[in-house]
Symmetry: C2
Subunit: 450 residues, 2 copies
């Protein structure tokens, strides 16, 4: 599959006209009115892959009206979605039946991931995976590869060809799994180090030190992961935390010298402001507090938490005023059941409802965009339409299916309330079909209607 460099002509400035929705602040803390930015008729000026200007069409047309433009009437343009937790080797194993976390790993995940020793296979899946992300409007993700370094190479090569902003890392796991999928503490350190030197900050790529979770890493391996964070202070830490009751109990057995699950990571120096922990369903109050102090982030993965029966994440506790924790949304494919961040927001809403909490559409879409960027410390580069940020954005069609077309009118919303209703319909009823186009660095990277 060829990914030619864009023709030089297309690198000149150009504009996108339509209705734009993004966030300039966190609606969990400020008012929604102050957090949401909505331009019913807006213009975005693109140059060299970045946003050069952004504002109401009327205000910008004098300066930029003569540039080549693409108009998207009756659509809603948003920043690309940011998926803060997903496993690319599990693309083909969505819907593996009948187990909760630990059995699911043994029965399905480890055999599937073993196939990624074959770099050709890894390349094939990496391409399918990235196609699927773009089809769903996801432009940045924090990604588990497999234990094999070549699985990371395959992923980063494919992401680099597409000019995507992606974070990934080699899984570190040296116990409690079949030999064919394990490394050693020493080899995981060496392999991760080599991958960091090869890929971290190459183009738009970033590396995440990626121990699978405390159960499959010896204390020695966790300590070496911590050493990597010391040696390379701007790489990420990406792992799982407090997903399932049985998992938490086992971690406590394995780390009797630690005060709890999070502490097993903390004692290895893995709880930092660049650490992203998937799930956190079973977190204690003290652990929420520690994550807040450390400025770590949680990836909330509702479709996965429901699919594996892990439980209901306490979003309102993470987003408390007293101990605020950064939160992004994650699909967690293959335990998650959809690549769509819209469908993920749908089930985030349901998790909140079961807990008698309300997750507003703006809050959910904040988590899927600027909130995700903040969770990944990428808010200076992506996440909203601030001038200077990368032009990674998506065009959503609120009338993508016959049913959505019946529910939603064609006219652009004219009030915050109408916009909220439109946005809510997208997150409850939308899926990949609602993503009409995905742009990467200002270039059309996916379009669902030819």
């Amino acid at each position: 599959m060829p990914f030619p460099e864009p023709a030089s002509a297309s690198l000149g400035p150009k504009t996108i006209r339509g209705s734009f929705l993004d966030f300039v602040d966190d609606p969990f803390y400020g008012s929604e009115e102050d957090s949401v930015r909505y331009l019913a008729d807006g213009l975005m000026v693109l140059e060299a892959g970045k946003i050069k200007a952004f504002g109401p069409f009327e205000a910008l047309q004098a300066d930029y009206g003569s540039l080549p433009t693409t108009a998207y009437p009756e659509r809603l343009i948003m920043p690309g979605f940011i998926d803060t937790h997903i496993h690319y080797p599990q693309t083909g194993m969505i819907a593996a039946y009948g187990e909760q976390l630990l059995e699911w790993l043994n029965q399905y995940t480890f055999p599937t991931e073993a196939k990624f020793q074959d770099q050709d296979y890894a390349r094939e899946v990496a391409d399918i995976f990235l196609d699927e992300l773009l089809r769903n409007g996801t432009t940045t993700a924090l990604v588990f590869a497999a234990v094999f370094p070549q699985s990371v190479d395959a992923f980063f090569e494919a992401a680099d060809r597409r000019h995507l902003c992606m974070i990934a890392g080699k899984v570190m796991m040296d116990r409690h799994a079949p030999d064919f999928i394990c490394d050693t503490a020493a080899s995981s350190y060496e392999d991760s180090k080599a991958l960091i030197q090869k890929w971290h900050k190459k183009g738009r790529l970033h590396y995440a030190v990626t121990p699978r979770f405390a159960i499959t890493s010896t204390d020695e391996q966790l300590q070496l992961a911590g050493q990597l964070l010391q040696e390379f202070p701007d790489v990420y830490l990406h792992t799982h935390l407090c997903e399932n009751v049985d998992e938490v109990a086992w971690v406590k057995e394995l780390f009797p010298h630690c005060q709890g699950y999070l502490d097993a990571y903390d004692q290895a120096g893995l709880v930092t402001d660049r650490s992203v922990f998937a799930h956190g369903v079973q977190l204690t109050d003290g652990e929420f507090q520690r994550l807040s102090e450390a400025q770590s982030a949680i990836a909330f993965c509702p479709t996965s938490n429901l699919f594996l029966g892990s439980g209901l994440f306490k979003l309102e506790q993470a987003k408390s005023t007293e101990y605020p924790v950064k939160v992004g949304l994650g699909t967690d494919v293959g335990a998650g059941t959809s690549f769509s961040m819209l469908q993920t927001a749908n089930e985030a809403y349901k998790v909140a409802q079961l807990r008698h909490q309300k997750l507003s559409p703006f809050k959910a879409l904040f988590l899927a965009t600027l909130g995700g960027a903040r969770a990944l410390c990428l808010e200076n580069a992506i996440g909203n339409f601030e001038v200077g940020k990368a032009a990674d954005f998506i065009v959503l069609d609120p009338r993508a299916t016959p049913l959505m077309a019946f529910r939603n009118g064609a006219a652009a919303p004219t009030s915050l309330q109408e916009l909220a209703d439109r946005a809510f319909s997208l997150m409850m009823m939308g899926d990949d079909r609602a993503v009409q186009a995905t742009y990467i660095l200002g270039e059309l990277a996916y379009e669902n209607r030819p």
Copy 2:
């Protein structure tokens, strides 16, 4: 929209060839192996809208091989889905934000349903609704209309034109709702009676006496509903039961002389073997037992129960050996978030997982077909491929999206385990796109690829 009678030529016998999956027994009680019928290469012979013969291609080709045939290679043919609880007037109000049951009714539902006083509008929505059912592979449903008799006329007219087997009724509600949407006990009795006389058993149509729920019906109205069941012993009773904690508490206040929510219906003679109660999330042990004794049915509506935060239905208690209760799946649109029975099965699985129960794909698909037929006392007419039943069936494409195509091979499953995996992928990843064709009485009624 014209619905011409099929040309007489097409009424002659013909065949469908492909892989067929249906159920001959209830997999919650017998073994799955004995309940599932799977023909990797099967032939279904259709004549005059019914199944004339059904079996392995090899066995039937001598007798029927010369008939005109339609082949569906690489597909899975199943009985049409049966949705045991849905509100057609709520088609356009899916995704109404932020409330649990009682507030959701006041804020969104009652104003929406008020529009169905206009019969033209009701006709328009009835058409859209039935199109949406067929697009999703649902061939029979138990349907709430609105309080206005003309909303029932509009629905039955549209269903009759399409030759669909449908059950519906006028909502009865004479209190605790705005005047514009209320009837009176006397008018609800008279109007329901006239509708029964007009529509019940006309073609494939059936009538359900439909008090909304105990909160919006006076005891007098419930008694008159019971009188209708006495006068017309083969109509249905369709209502809501024990959905939400606040609702249950209010019913107890309103019916102090009753032992509980179900008893408010029971004392009016509404708990029969033709009664279908939606939800039952909050049922007590005694109420499960009473439903079992009465041979009443429950419509389990997982997307709705999650969307409104009502709670997690105890499916395993309904399907217990000691006090078995008939259960079907319901979408409960518009509190449900999808018309797709596949997506409904997806969330039924998740509800089970949260309760540390396993809902196998065969059990879920049984609920969506033969289980639903039994819940609606229609198992002699629809629900599986028994010879003599109506030829309402659907053609599912296990590779309907790029991701499903990557996960699922093209070859037909060759073992029960492979079939279970294929079926599970359909219920977790499938939606209306997975429904390639829907047949009603042996005629193609919907096709998603021209």
